[in-house]
């Protein structure tokens, strides 16, 4: 349930006959037990929960998913006030925080550094 974050394996060794790895989370590195994904290779991504790799992260799948999101409503991107249109079409009120003046600024703004 729970907090598991993706990281890249940068080295692998054995400790007490157990495969261990150094995993890089965007510059923060941690020793992780790889016993549950024993065939992980250096350079691959894995999802880590409380110091254990639980599963390989399928990079292709991740990129495909993002691409699918990008393609969603691509045509509509040309046509201005999406929130208003969506609200009209669905017969539902405009969602909070998407008034005309805000729409272009708040939702589209860069949030990561």
């Amino acid at each position: 349930m729970c907090l598991a974050v993706p990281g890249r394996v940068t080295s692998i060794w054995e400790q007490d006959d157990t495969p261990m790895g150094q995993v890089d989370f965007g510059g923060v590195t941690k020793e992780v037990c790889l016993a549950y994904v024993p065939d992980l290779q250096v350079g691959e991504y894995t999802i880590v929960h409380v110091g254990f790799a639980l599963q390989r992260l399928d990079e292709e799948s991740a990129l495909e998913t993002l691409e699918l999101f990008r393609q969603m409503g691509e045509l509509d991107a040309e046509f201005g006030d999406h929130w208003g249109r969506a609200a009209t079409e669905s017969g539902m009120p405009r969602p909070a925080g998407t008034d005309d003046t805000a729409a272009g600024e708040t939702v589209g703004r860069e949030t990561t550094r």
Partner: protein, 368 residues
């Protein structure tokens, strides 16, 4: 009459019995009903610390200034306005990436004084040493105290040393107190923020806390993050040179930026509205917090300040900050509003809002 050759045993004074605090008599906000003993949360810098100070220490120390607690006290003494502050340092480990308890001990008090607009001048330093600590370690700490004092432009003029039994001290505890003069026309305090003020942070947040956690037992992780421990009196002087009318300043140490903003919002009776996207969080701090399940808004800083500045001065103050080495990444992150007085609210990247509350006690790593 005492017979010669015989001494009577020394009379011990009876230990005064301190009556247990009468929890029933305490009023708002929230009495300490749930905790007859001190717990770690009381030192976290959040709500529990606030309650301890408000309900236990202030009544006992009763003076005329209970409602004006800023980082330091500004006093009128013989015609001069003197800022006076004290801080204690109990950090573990003693030496960490980018700093040490010695650096914190000097900069912590220097910064508390600077937050009143004072030019820090003199410090005291009290050391509590645990029996069994390596003398070399104590020497290294003292060395750092000296070096930090020189960088900050202050002198340590008096001090004290005590030794406690092994098992009672974490190696070294340090207390520093400091004084400095407050320039005329400068009246900075947590109660002085006004609707319309710009909220400016001097740089990246969350750095010190992450640096400490990275070397703490049970958490250790690799990172290049080094503590941002630094003296800020020079930065504040540069800001005051633009205008003496800075309203509020605070260095967000324990409890982080989130706590500092709440304290000022509360003391001033204004609401604070933040733009989450403008709060400068370095990528590595963000990633370390993601890994441990922490919020950068509540992670300690030791070389940063947050300022509440009149809106017509904000641009000029920001420019002056950015010229200074300790303010190069300064940014406006929000404003004071008349709505939700005492509360801090942030607009998320998705256009929704979330309340930025005061953390309860220590922030702890989580798994969920």
């Amino acid at each position: 009459m005492v017979e010669s050759g015989q001494a009577s045993p020394p009379q011990l004074l009876p230990t005064p019995t301190v009556p247990a605090p009468d929890f029933e008599g305490w009023t708002c906000p929230l009495p300490l009903r749930d905790s007859p003993q001190i717990v770690m949360g009381h030192g976290g810098g959040g709500a529990m610390t606030a309650e301890l100070i408000e309900h236990l220490f202030l009544p006992a120390l009763a003076n005329e200034r209970p409602d004006r607690l800023g980082d330091s006290a500004v006093l009128d003494l013989g015609g001069a306005r003197i800022a006076f502050s004290t801080d204690s340092f109990v950090v573990r480990p003693l030496f960490f990436p980018g700093g040490s308890i010695g650096d914190l001990a000097v900069n912590g008090t220097v910064n508390d004084l600077a937050m009143s607009g004072a030019q820090p001048a003199y410090l005291s330093a009290g050391f509590i040493l645990e029996e069994g600590t390596d003398v070399a370690v104590v020497a290294a700490v003292a060395d750092r105290v000296g070096a930090a004092a020189r960088e900050a432009g202050v002198e340590v003029v008096t001090g004290d040393t005590k030794v406690v039994d092994a098992g009672h001290g974490d190696g070294v505890y340090v207390n520093t107190a400091g004084i400095g003069l407050v320039p005329a026309g400068v009246h900075i305090g947590p109660h002085r923020a006004e609707v319309g003020d710009a909220v400016i942070v001097s740089g990246d947040i969350g750095v010190h806390g992450v640096a400490i956690m990275s070397v703490r037992e049970g958490l250790e992780f690799g990172t290049e993050i080094r503590s941002d421990c630094a003296p800020l009196a020079g930065l504040v002087a540069a800001m005051l040179a633009v205008t003496p009318d800075l309203h509020a300043l605070r260095d967000p140490t324990r409890g982080g930026l989130g706590t500092a903003l709440n304290e000022i919002a509360s003391a001033s009776g204004v609401g604070v509205e933040l733009d989450e996207g403008r709060i400068p969080v370095p990528e590595m701090v963000r990633n370390a917090c993601s890994l441990l399940g922490l919020d950068p808004l509540y992670v300690a800083n030791e070389g940063k300040l947050v300022a509440f500045v009149p809106p017509d001065q904000a641009e000029a103050v920001l420019a002056a900050m950015r010229e200074h080495p300790y303010g190069a990444d300064a940014a406006v992150i929000g404003t004071c509003v008349p709505e939700h007085p005492g509360m801090v609210v942030a607009r998320t990247g998705f256009g929704a809002t979330r309340v930025v509350d005061v953390p309860i006690g220590e922030q702890l790593p989580r798994i969920c």
